[in-house]
């Protein structure tokens, strides 16, 4: 029997590295915090709200996202969108992700056949 908490910790750690990629992938068009959260959830990727909102702000301060307040509706919303630098970063990260998937597939398959 493996330690449940340990497993959860490890899964959390594994997933944490992919969060940024997941967020960048959905911001080719305008999203506000909650719509992005729902969109990710619809596709099966759940990021906690308490993690996502600060992450968006951090990515913005790193220049990867642009933001705009929409005050036309009765509740103001902050919309986020990939900046040029963000788009480029996303492309690079995507390449890296594909490499990682290939490498690990290779490792895992290789281990099976032994």
């Amino acid at each position: 029997m493996i330690d449940k908490t340990l497993l959860e910790n490890m899964i959390g750690e594994l997933r944490r590295g992919t969060q940024i990629l997941a967020v960048l992938s959905q911001l080719a068009d305008n999203q506000y915090g909650y719509s992005l959260l729902q969109r990710l959830e619809e596709k099966g990727v759940s990021i906690e709200a308490g993690t996502l909102y600060p992450l968006l702000r951090r990515l913005e301060s790193q220049g990867l996202l642009k933001s705009e307040w929409d005050t036309t509706e009765n509740r103001p919303r902050k919309y986020y969108l990939l900046s040029d630098a963000g788009t480029e970063m996303y492309d690079q990260l995507k390449l890296e992700w594909n490499t990682i998937v290939k490498e690990l597939d290779h490792l895992i398959e290789g281990a099976k056949t032994k």
Partner: protein
């Protein structure tokens, strides 16, 4: 009801730098509003705020830099230095306060003196520990902060420390430190008692405990002449432990120090018990009467031979101990010490 949201947002933003507070608050309010249904009940608000998590953690997420006093990189060194500094400071302040309060007590009664000694010593030790803790922590915070900013040369394997020599017998640091503290504490106490000639032997006299009937055990003049030598021997003992602590294992240096210390102590002891007129005549008279000894001389001789016997016994042990020590130094064990 709305109150909960305001309190939550406040609790998050108050932990953030002032120039970001307004923006984060606005955004957080918008996000919370989005997550709530129209006309939310209090239960809805509680649910949403619970999902967002503890304000402390959320605020940490909004911060761009990690905040800590001492990074894990320095933690080992920090804890090690802290331990050593605290032990040394505790020992030093313990000894000095003890000496100070014992030599110049303000209180006039015995109970008062005991309370004074314990109280002063305790508070002095605690306050010196706090000083040590603060100082070490501040120094490490500075090292961590500025050390990472002014990048030094990249690490190279050549800067690795040497392996400790194999085939050495370690001397436990704890043992040395405890030895040092014991020698200081008991040395100081005993020296104080000698100085004031307050060594009494209690005996049972007419149904009550009589503290030597107020008669000191030793002869005043002899004791005063003896005192400087005794203090010297305590200093030698402390120095010996200091050498052992510094070297950390048995070698010629530690063995020499060990030998000097042991010989000094045992010679001192032999000389002490053989000093003529060591025991106070008044004490002897009183004791002779009490034990119904035929004469004071007989009793004195009895005491002297008993003392000589004990000292001889100790001397034999010292000699054996010294032989074993030197044999160990020159024939180290084959098994390597980790």
């Amino acid at each position: 009801m709305k109150d909960l949201i305001e309190r939550y947002v406040y609790d998050v933003t108050r932990r953030l730098p002032e120039n970001t507070r307004a923006e984060v608050a606005k955004e957080l309010n918008a996000n919370i509003g989005d997550m709530l249904p129209e006309q939310p009940a209090e239960a809805d608000i509680v649910k949403v705020l619970t999902t967002l998590g503890e304000p402390r953690e959320l605020a940490a997420g909004y911060r761009t830099t990690q905040r800590y006093l001492i990074s894990p990189k320095w933690m080992d060194e920090y804890l090690m230095v802290l331990k050593i500094v605290l032990i040394v400071l505790a020992a030093i302040s313990l000894v000095f306060t003890l000496i100070e309060t014992l030599t110049d007590p303000q209180a006039t009664t015995v109970i008062g003196m005991i309370a004074e000694v314990f109280g002063t010593t305790f508070s002095e030790v605690i306050s010196s520990l706090f000083h040590g803790f603060t100082l070490v922590t501040l120094i490490f915070v500075a090292i961590d902060h500025y050390g990472s900013k002014c990048d030094k040369e990249p690490w190279s394997p050549k800067s690795l420390p040497e392996l400790p020599k194999d085939n050495v017998r370690k001397i436990s640091r704890t043992e040395s430190i405890i030895g040092m503290m014991m020698a200081t504490i008991f040395g100081a106490i005993f020296a104080y008692l000698l100085l004031n000639n307050q060594l009494y032997i209690a005996w049972f006299d007419e149904g009550t405990w009589n503290i030597g009937a107020g008669i000191p055990l030793f002869n005043d003049a002899v004791i005063l002449a003896f005192l400087p030598v005794y203090v010297a021997s305590v200093v030698v003992t402390i120095a010996d432990h200091a050498v052992k602590l510094k070297v950390g294992h048995w070698n010629v240096a530690t063995a020499v120090s060990h030998t000097i210390e042991h010989l000094f102590s045992i010679v001192l002891m032999i000389v002490f018990v053989n000093t003529p007129n060591l025991l106070n005549a008044a004490f002897l008279d009183h004791a002779a009467a009490f034990f119904e000894s035929p004469s004071t001389t007989v009793l004195a001789e009895g005491i002297a031979s008993a003392a000589t016997g004990i000292v001889t016994f100790i001397a034999i042990f010292v000699v054996i101990d010294l032989i074993v020590t030197w044999v160990r130094v020159f024939r180290p064990s084959r098994r390597s010490v980790k």
